[in-house]
């Protein structure tokens, strides 16, 4: 470890910060519907998800070994500065979407950031266009679609089979099933996303000649990446949890179970067959499918529309921020310092903006009321169509009543 230069150290810390925001951003995937149906108390849910993420991080290093996944042409030369800039782009976009309460893909933010930084630093030749389309864009369109259709059919089926039973009597069983499938999603998230960070850190170490090319991530990398993602998960991105659990549609226990099972299945099936896909998009898709599948279920398409817009923007936006950061960082030490200071300032500003209207475990299940326009939400609203009327009923605020 004595060979680690200051720059590599900065890259590692930045990667861990990204890992933290990743966990933070993606708690919603596994736990949003579990919290909104009342299957688990908010704090219990995030704690369980954090533990499973940590466990998942230790299970395998397969994804970490293929992090660049052929998307970046490594022979063009990946410099630590470029990785640093890519990470900064991903972190800033993750925090912005968190502030807006939009579930967007952390993986896409990471890919977008790395792609943007590489293009800015080494030109378009450094990008493997085919791999981007095949590994990122196609799964991005297909995954939520598959999960949505699956969850919709499953919801229809479960309501049809259980139509003669008392909802109050069966709710307990559905909640138990939902906890199990949410646990699977958390575990899969830990193995996938914690490893992406491990891969990035390893890439940086290789670029800095600290470890040999093609080597496995060192143990301290695995441990720190697992801890960072678990900590982020435990702190919990409550804004996104609220959007996913309450904002898109009102989820009842059978729907929550169907949605979570669909998400877990799609994630496992596709990663087994070699597609890396966004856990966030799969889970959002299945929540929407479950909303459509219930008779009388309402999907708030305005919220969903803003989410889709955020998905479309994730890759280019993170890429642009990263490209700017890469141009600066390429200027030398003062450039890297400037990027670090700017990134820190941006994070602080976003955090300050979030304090104006905090969302935490106490009000996570409350209705999705109109957002107070902050500076950044206004900026985002300028790009994304504003929400139409958001319907909030009394049942929204009471999980016990909603599930009865």
């Amino acid at each position: 470890m004595e060979h680690i230069t200051l720059l590599i150290g900065i890259v590692i810390i930045t990667a861990l910060v990204f890992d933290f925001t990743n966990g933070f951003h993606d708690t919603a995937n596994a736990m949003a519907t579990t919290i909104s149906t009342g299957a688990l108390k908010p704090k219990t849910a995030v704690a369980m998800s954090a533990v499973l993420n940590l466990v998942g991080a230790f299970l395998s290093v397969e994804v970490a070994k293929t992090i660049s996944g052929g998307i970046l042409d490594e022979s063009a030369g990946i410099k630590p500065e470029v990785i640093f800039a890519g990470l900064v782009g991903a972190i800033v976009w993750n925090l912005l979407t968190w502030l807006a309460g939009l579930p967007s893909s952390s993986s896409h933010a990471l890919f977008g950031g790395l792609i943007g930084a590489s293009v800015a630093s080494a030109g378009f030749g450094s990008i493997n266009g085919d791999a981007v389309v095949m590994k990122v864009l196609i799964p991005a369109v297909c995954a939520p679609l598959v999960a949505g259709v699956g969850a919709m059919l499953a919801t229809r089926l479960t309501y049809r089979i259980g139509r003669n039973t008392d909802p109050a009597a069966t709710a307990k069983g559905y909640r138990a099933g939902q906890i199990a499938s949410a646990g699977l999603v958390s575990l899969a998230h830990g193995t996938n996303d914690a490893q992406k960070t491990m891969g990035v850190i390893t890439l940086a170490l290789i670029a800095g000649n600290v470890v040999a090319p093609d080597s496995d991530p060192p143990l301290w990398v695995i441990v720190s990446a697992g801890m960072a993602i678990a900590l982020g998960t435990f702190i919990g991105g409550w804004r996104i949890i609220r959007t996913m659990g309450k904002g898109i549609t009102d989820i009842q226990p059978p729907q929550g179970f169907a949605a979570q099972t669909g998400a877990a299945t799609v994630i496992l099936a596709s990663s087994h067959l070699g597609f890396s896909l966004s856990t966030t998009q799969v889970c959002s898709g299945s929540v929407m499918g479950a909303g459509v599948g219930r008779k009388g279920g309402v999907v708030r398409w305005s919220t969903a529309g803003r989410m889709f817009a955020a998905w479309g923007l994730t890759l280019p936006a993170a890429g642009l921020v990263a490209a700017g950061a890469a141009l600066l960082a390429d200027q030398g030490d003062w450039g890297v310092t400037t990027v670090a200071v700017l990134a820190l300032a941006a994070c602080t500003a976003i955090w300050m903006a979030s304090r104006r209207k905090p969302v935490d475990h106490t009000n996570v299940n409350e209705g999705h009321d109109a957002e107070e326009p902050g500076v950044i939400t206004t900026a985002i609203a300028a790009v994304i169509p504003p929400p139409a009327g958001l319907t909030t009923t009394a049942a929204d605020t009471d999980p016990a009543k909603a599930s009865a």
């Binding site: 999960a147 008392d166 069966t170 299945t265």
Partner: protein
């Protein structure tokens, strides 16, 4: 540009089938258990007892299959 339609199709098919199958199975289990509760409460006749036992066995079978699917899922994650 090479798009692997076969892999995409199999992800689609497998995901749909497994999701719907698992949710259906689990629902059957829940329904079986809840029928047991209501039947037991209504009357203690032997006929009702027989169907209750059957429903309960069926329900546990369904849950066992679901548990097996979860175990296979964990195996896929680890492997």
């Amino acid at each position: 540009m090479h798009i692997d339609w076969a892999a995409l199709g199999s992800v689609f098919g497998v995901s749909l089938a497994v999701t719907v199958g698992l949710v259906g199975l689990f629902t059957l289990g829940i329904v079986g258990l809840s029928k047991q509760g209501t039947a037991g409460g209504e009357a203690g006749t032997s006929a009702a007892g027989g169907t209750t036992a059957l429903a309960r066995t069926g329900a546990y079978l369904c849950f066992a299959l679901c548990a097996a699917a979860v175990a296979y899922g964990i195996y896929l994650i680890v492997a």
